[in-house]
Subunit: 134 residues, 2 copies
Amino acid sequence: MIGRLNHIAIAVPDIAAASRLYQGTLGAEVSAPEKLPEHGVTVVFITLPNTKIELLEPLGEASPIARFLDKNPDGGIHHVCYEVEDIGAARDWLVTSGARVLGSGEPKIGAHGKPVLFLHPKDFNGALIELEQA
Amino acid sequence: MIGRLNHIAIAVPDIAAASRLYQGTLGAEVSAPEKLPEHGVTVVFITLPNTKIELLEPLGEASPIARFLDKNPDGGIHHVCYEVEDIGAARDWLVTSGARVLGSGEPKIGAHGKPVLFLHPKDFNGALIELEQA
């Protein structure tokens, strides 16, 4: 079912400093920061030859990464995103398999404008997994 | 400097159960487990179209992932590995930039038989980064 690794998301407390680190120290191709208020994050894309890294900084009062940064003030690897062909079919199969989908259980439109859902980390060895219909 | 994402490593308490989950529930291509006593882990490779995931279970008394699993009993995303062309040049540049290399500071032969080094997560937004000479 899971296809390409779409991205790895890293939560950071200071996206300007993190961008300088990835661009300067690690020599990567780093985008300008983009505010996504409807998702509660500011995002920077790091383009690697085979996938991308997304740096996420909390934006606004109800950011979904605020609690993670409270627990991990330096930041940390927040989630991995795999592509699937059909998010509805994936959701149905996962629920049948006993895996928990976060939130309402319905796919939402994610930060790339495509349908996504998140799986409960307790059901996947502590790893937060996002599925995106590619 | 950093090139392809070589792999994401996920530490798991039970690699047989985790393999069933990735193969059965997530429908991924999963290898047989391989014991690497000199690295203190049993590893399973999950092949995605553009990169791979490595599941790691502690092996032996001095496993480098034992403490991580003490803190995260369900498991979790442990590190990301980026490829570099010249690990010696990468190390010299990183040290000049003020980043800390873990251990002796000298590259070691990693689980794929290639020179690797690990960077201090405190210097990279809480993310443990492995560099591998591809």
